[in-house]
Amino acid sequence: MLNPVIKGKKGVFALGSLACVAALVACSNATSSGNTSSQSFGSSSAESSASQNYVAYDPSVYGDPTALSADITFWTTTGHQNQDALSAITQAFNQVYPNINVNILAQGAYSDIQTKINDAIPSGTTPTIAYCYPDHVANYLAAGAVMDIQNFVNDPIIGFLAANEASEGHHSENGMDVYGTDDYVKAYWDEGTAYQLPGLYSVPFTKSTEALYYNKTIFDEMGWSVPETWDDLWSLCDTIKGQNPDYVPFGYDSDSNLFISALASNGIPYTSSTGAHYLFNNAAAKTLVQNWVSKVNAGEFETQGTLPNSSYTSTDFIQQKTLMIVSSTGGASYADTDNFDVGVAPLPIYAGHELQVISQGPSICFFQRGSWAQKYAAWLFYKFCTSAEWSARFAVASTGYNPVRVSSYDTDYYTGYLAESADTIYGRTATVTEAFQDNMFYSPVFVGSSAARDAVGKILTLVVQTNLTVDEAFQQVYDECVAG
């Protein structure tokens, strides 16, 4: 049986948590859950369904969490390799929670899962939890379909106990890992609060960012230094182009990330979650794009959007047509090759500014549909997957993704992995991105933020491949965003 009382400091903190929870109970118009002993908290001013009032975990109803029985459905976008990794975590999870059946269903790509969930909401077929991008959750939230996960975090039984001691991590008396939200990489966790409504509507699962991959063999041979600033990078492009006109020296895989990251790095407005959402149509942003256009026209720069067939620049990289690229760390395998040594470095910085790298990769959202047993089970599964050890292991298994827990980086498993794989692209990527934890940024999320991201990714292509001027391209995509 679960023994929630923790002695000393932990016990005091737990009492405080319960007090908060109970206070909320008293302040809300909680409807009956049919379980008189359970605590209900949360105000649901616009919700008619009783299921949307959080009902705290009651051991007298459900027993010890390790005995909880439920079937949950988890929709993912995992490819075949990560599907295996998730299955492995599930097997380990079932050793602790043998009565929770996790049905993992790969639903295609991110755009597919977004469409399927949007379709599943009105038909009442949403899963218990799902992979999501925050942009997607804005729509789910607008439909009232997702839960405020903060309720689970605060749950006195299955939540994060003793958040003040999160950084050390510990085991509760029943042997479960208990860590607080402070142990998550801050940018990853805070991303789940950046929605149009207050609350926590997504939580990080596995995250990636971008890094600079370069042809180390040729760099070493030629004595070139890895560029640390964008000025250095363009200067090196001039050098490379001057020595061998056949090369397109530099590529950037994601047009959207190129634009968004550059604006974030330079402090240029992009979007806002409130008010007039679309702020990117400004002179400073146009100056950046104008520079990229000139580099593309000079044969020094390419992006996925400027290439025929929208092929990835990583394809040109491994074919040695391009000597350095910025690419997703989650797709490090696409930059890997036996034919030359691949170096990994942080993105260049803009002079006078700090490094800003985009936070990407899937989060998890929880749906309103389903029984409380299913929801508790899903939360327990999430906590298990993102415990220090398993977050580290999943990051390694998924090659190129980062653990979401700070303490994961200190596990013997992860430090051992970095040591063993120091000469691989994955190890080099992990080493570089570990230093990015305080340099991550995320964009505001609102209904339409997904469209904005797609739209700005087309600007460079519109200028390079059509007759539009930079001003015209900006205006066109801005109008698209505003029109919705």
Binding site: S111, A143, Q304, T399
Partner: protein, 495 residues
């Protein structure tokens, strides 16, 4: 017993706080105001969420709702985005290789179109084998092989050049099948959608495509009806048990020891009903996530003679860590198959999270190098099966002439083959990936179709090659033995 006082205290404190009008932490509350914000949603969705309500599955034939509208007669897939093709090779559930057609309607065997089906992603059945993968492959194959007419189309509503995918080597396409020759447009059915509707694949990357709504509807219907991959059932065609313990020697020779006979008898290890095997080996050469492995054994008919046997482990270019370490001794579990006349092991896995009996096991990390067999070309260039997949070192070769380049379809030549001879005049072929090499002057240069003959066939120059031997079977059925160079750096010119 201990928790009771805690909850009592909490309840008392809660009552106190409530009485004081304390509002509590905002993050603990549900602030959802769905009606107010739904109106501005990009996609209109309802907020009606019923707990555990059972969905009613529909039984619509979505395939019948989609029709081929562009005329394919007289059009070519590569140039017009739609055209009739002929089957070249069945690959798996979502990939098929076709020949383009000549103007007279016969297959143009010089032009291969590698078609990756749009909007689907079936379970794997080649480098990796997943439950329902073989079934999905067989399902697709049944439609392809029974079709009288096959038409490919791109995701365009009008005519336009077909576009390769992001890898540049495959064409994302719709595959239309008809049971008629000279088929009218109305007779075609969209195979991609048939696969989804029958539960052999989830919809993938369908958003923004021509038939996205139909694909998503068919997908939802299949999930609701719990068809095939959505069934939650075990695939009866998938081998869930662990691999049969054997040796590289017996795999290569196609033998098994029959206790009733008291001798080795012929055995087809590639039979899919029992081709899951487990064997010990050493890593000889790692290549792009795949590997060649080997093991030395006494000959079956002569215990005093040691013979080296090799095998190609095709991991589907995944990062299977143990395969990257030359010299390591492993126990490999996988499925024994053939590809282009060569035995190979597929469906290997190594799970760093949770080791299972289906995973590769690392037996010994002591060795970190591989000593190749040094052999003469004349020996290698024979039908001696014992040499197949064995990594050898052959010295003093020189190029004789070009034997051809192989396109990745997108117009970029990827591979080339050179006819080589050794100093004694014995010949063998050498396959090579076009790319950057370090030449005899230690200068890095790019080898492409315009210069590779001159590069390798310079009179008086010889080179040494470290590579596995395997077979290449031409479309005409001719068998060629070749050195399949894995790393360009494994070819070294003699000064």
């Amino acid at each position: 017993m201990r928790k009771t006082p805690m909850f009592v205290a909490s309840a008392l404190l809660a009552f106190f706080l409530a009485s004081c009008g304390t509002n509590g932490a905002s993050s603990s509350e549900n602030f959802v105001s769905s009606e107010s914000v739904a109106a501005s949603s990009e996609r209109v969705v309802s907020s009606s969420e019923e707990s555990s309500s059972a969905a009613v599955c529909d039984s619509t034939d979505y395939v019948s709702q989609v029709h081929l509208t562009l005329n394919y007669v007289g059009h070519d897939f590569l140039t017009d985005g739609i055209g009739q093709v002929a089957l070249k090779e069945l690959v798996d559930g979502d990939t098929t290789h076709f020949y383009d057609l000549n103007s007279n309607g016969t297959p143009d065997t010089a032009v291969t179109i590698k078609s990756r089906y749009l909007c689907i992603d079936t379970p794997e059945s080649t480098g990796q084998i997943e439950p329902w993968g073989k079934a999905a492959s067989a399902f697709t194959d049944s439609y392809i092989t029974s079709a009288k007419t096959i038409v490919l189309s791109s995701d365009f509503a009008i005519y336009g050049s077909a576009k390769a995918d992001s890898t540049g080597s495959r064409y994302l396409s719709y595959i239309w099948v008809s049971d008629q020759t000279n088929a009218p447009l109305s007779s075609f059915r969209l195979l991609n959608l048939i696969i989804v509707q029958n539960g052999y694949s989830a919809t993938k990357a369908a958003a923004g495509t021509l038939y996205q709504d139909t694909f998503f509807n068919a997908d939802a219907e299949a999930q609701c009806n719990k068809l095939i991959i959505w069934s939650g059932q075990q695939d009866p065609g998938f081998i869930y048990t662990t691999g049969v313990s054997t040796t590289l020697q017996l795999l290569t020779l196609g033998k098994i020891y029959d206790e009733t006979v008291g001798d080795y008898v012929d055995y087809d290890w590639t039979d899919s009903t029992h081709n899951k095997v487990a064997f010990d080996c050493y890593v000889a050469l790692a290549t792009s996530g795949n590997a060649y492995v080997y093991m030395d054994y006494p000959a079956l008919d002569n215990p005093n003679q040691t013979v080296r046997y090799g095998m190609y482990i095709f991991a589907g270019y995944r990062n299977i860590t143990p395969l990257n370490h030359v010299g390591w001794k492993l126990n490999v579990v996988g499925n024994c198959t053939t590809f282009n006349g060569n035995l190979q092991i597929t469906n290997v896995q190594y799970n760093v999270l949770y080791h299972t009996t289906d995973d590769i096991t690392i037996l010994d990390k002591t060795l970190t190098t591989y000593t190749p067999l040094e052999t003469a070309t004349a020996v290698a260039d024979t039908a001696n099966i014992a040499y197949m997949n064995v990594v050898v070192q052959i010295n003093d070769l020189h190029g004789v002439n070009d034997f051809g380049t192989y396109s990745s379809v997108s117009g970029t030549d990827t591979y080339m083959t050179i006819h080589c001879e050794d100093l004694a005049g014995s010949s063998i072929y050498l396959t090579f990936t076009l790319g950057t090499v370090t030449d005899r002057n230690n200068v890095t240069q790019r080898i492409d179709p315009t210069n590779f003959v001159a590069y390798f066939c310079t009179a008086g120059e010889t080179f040494n090659v470290f590579a596995p031997i395997n077979r290449y079977i031409s479309t005409g059925g001719t068998i060629y033995y070749q050195l399949a160079l894995c790393h360009n750096s494994d070819l070294v010119f003699n000064s």
